[in-house]
């Protein structure tokens, strides 16, 4: 083959492959454009004022319904979760709120790549302070008093290895704006002994008060429920095989993801509740795989996200193992109850 014909083939291939690539990009761009159109059968969403100082009980979440308000924090009356939504105009990937403070994990679209930040919002959802976040947001929580906020992000450390994931969890005191940006530096006590390892990962903080919290510690292929102390900077293991803990409002039980035997490696978790006094585990009536940090809507009911047609839907199930799971509202994620 002559050099000329080789160059010709190359040119032809560049044109052809370029056309395929451009086609794929245009197709994807068109499809994402459709997501800005309101669904005919979807939930009604309109812009409005969203406040954390509510009269009556409200459910807040990230609205996933297609339309101009997709990804905005929206609110519905707690008694009418499938009713019309009021969208705030504030976009968050993950969100939680309590006692007039909200934490919103956002993507910042930079010139070269996306970065993330954690924004603390006041009761009118106005920014009070923001912090850079090290990776992709996954969990966010505010303490019952509204004084502490915590978040977890995923980082993939080495761009050449690529598949090696870890987490970073940070806690901020909104009274002083001090940040502990990596809980892995806390002193860990595992099974009664001091413990350190390179592979420790901590995620899914849930606050008891402004000092004590619970979270997941993973190391050497196992996960543990840990009790943390913000002031003493300690983590102590309490129970094995617990991920994404969520403390009940009365502080007696932890709802969590448990890795169960015999489940497919792709869908290994079921929703369980742990009694902190007796350490007795109870399976809930939700038998599907769940991958979320559950939320207590009251002392006997759990709310959590499951994959849905437009990303995810919110579901609810009793915490004591009775009843059946039921869909609370479609096209929503990252819920919080106020009032």
């Amino acid at each position: 083959m002559t050099r000329r014909s080789r160059l010709l083939i190359l040119l032809l291939a560049v044109v052809l492959l370029g056309a395929v690539g451009t086609g794929a990009v245009l197709h994807a761009a068109h499809r994402s454009g459709m997501r800005d159109e309101q669904q005919a059968d979807g939930p009604k969403v309109r812009a409005g004022t969203v406040s954390l100082r509510v009269s009556g009980r409200q459910l807040l979440f990230r609205n996933l319904a297609w339309g101009p308000h997709r990804d905005e924090i929206a609110t519905v009356p707690a008694g009418d979760p499938q009713g019309p939504r009021t969208a705030s105009g504030v976009k968050c990937l993950r969100f939680h709120a309590a006692a007039g403070t909200a934490i919103c994990l956002q993507a910042v679209h930079g010139a070269l790549e996306d970065t993330y930040r954690a924004v603390v919002l006041d009761s009118h959802l106005h920014e009070l302070h923001h912090f850079p976040a090290a990776g992709i947001p996954t969990r966010a929580r505010v303490s019952p008093s509204g004084h502490l906020v915590a978040w977890t992000v995923f980082v993939s450390g080495d761009s050449y290895a690529g598949t090696d994931f870890s987490t970073r969890t940070a806690i901020v005191d909104t009274r002083t704006w001090t940040i502990d940006d990596n809980l892995e530096t806390f002193h860990i006590t595992k099974d009664g002994h001091p413990y350190h390892a390179a592979d420790t990962n901590i995620w899914g903080v849930t606050f008891a008060d402004d000092t004590r919290f619970y979270a997941t510690l993973a190391t050497a292929g196992h996960t543990y429920l840990v009790r943390g102390d913000v002031k003493a900077r300690t983590l102590t293991t309490l129970h094995a095989n617990v991920e994404c803990p969520s403390l009940s409002p009365d502080g007696t039980r932890i709802a969590y993801k448990k890795r169960v035997k015999g489940a497919s490696p792709d869908a290994p978790w079921r929703l369980y509740v742990l009694n902190l006094r007796t350490m007795k585990e109870t399976a809930t009536a939700e038998h599907r795989n769940i991958d979320d940090q559950a939320l207590w809507s009251d002392n006997s009911t759990l709310v959590y996200a499951l994959p849905g047609d437009y990303g995810s839907d919110l579901w609810t199930v009793p915490a004591n193992g009775t009843g059946t799971a039921r869909r609370l509202t479609p096209s929503a994620v990252a819920p919080a109850y106020l009032g």
Partner: protein, 425 residues
Amino acid sequence: MYLADSRGTKAAVVPDSGPVRRSAAVPGTVLALGAVSLITDVSSEMVTAVLPLYVVTALGLSPLGFGLLDGINNGVGALVRLAGGHLADRGGRRHKVVAGVGYGLSALCKPLLLLAHTLPLISAVLAADRTGKGLRTAPRDAMISLATEPEHRGRAFGVHRAMDTTGALLGPLVAFAVLRATVDGYDAVFAVSGCVAALGVLVLVLFVPRHIAPADVVRLPEPEAPRPALRDSLGLLRRPELRRLTLCATLLGLTTVSDSFLYLLLQREGNLPAHLFPLLPLGTAAVFLLLAVPLGALADRVNRRRLFLAGHVVLLLGYGLVLSPWHGVPAVIAVLVLHGTFYAATDGVLAAATAGAVPARHQGAGQALVGTGQALARFACSLAFGAAWSLWGGRTALAVTAAALAVSALVATYLLRTTDEVLPA
């Protein structure tokens, strides 16, 4: 000590080199292979850059434990690399064919990602992708060796590694541009990545010659020896020169802390803000890119093995800096400069040194043996380092590794002392 040594030798030889000689030093085949690597790395780093985002935000999966298969993949990857090198030498040099199969396999994996929506499936596709990488590495380095005159191999490998790293740095930029244009169109990223990979394979097919006459024998009729059998490939280790080189690469690999551990330590020891963490690999890559060609050229003038050793001394300095009380952003930058210099002084240089220690018809297997020894040793080091961290904490683990690296470097110096490279007059 070695640094001073190298500098002295360099000064003596510098007048020799001029721009004319420089351009002649890099044959077209090497540039073609460099282009293939550049294009392929754009494609694969596109995927690597968006994969975490895709898994977490688009698929909504928790990726922790995703890296568990890495150990198995590393082992399989090492065996595949040996097989690739051996097969490439068989049947009168099938380097191009074996490398082509490797590049092709990885290219096919990109569109497969469009269909894989669960972690086990994605892991399987990534494993296949890595198999392709393992298969092509040794034949590619063999082709670079064969196409280049022995006295210019350092520079040739440097040029190749620089092009390769350029692709790795460009990939994420292309990926995020596509992601921006499509608003979370991950399928578009995978499709474009597949197209780019296909282009890389095509450049290989069109512009890399099937038979590369070894540049050093200038068509001296290499007696049509029987095809190298597996026995012959492994028997290469009976050659004292290659045995020593493999031994040294393995020994030093055993004391080379993996990038992720080093970055983790840098962050924890230096109280680096967590959001700067993703920039650390970029720093190393940028320095590697800048220094690969100059240090490769230097390797052609001073002794390659000596530069390879000097690279590890630079790494030792880097470890020392991590352990030192000097913290803060300038300290981190200094460590990254040393880390990138280490790669530039060792990665391509080792391949060039290997090329000089094996005959032309065993280039593939020779490259595979040394590379596999090093890769398996580094993997063993990762396992040991993780265990040491759990036992003693990260700082002590690094201090112990640094001491072991110093000992390894001394032993390697002793082993390589007698085998000064014989450059053709």
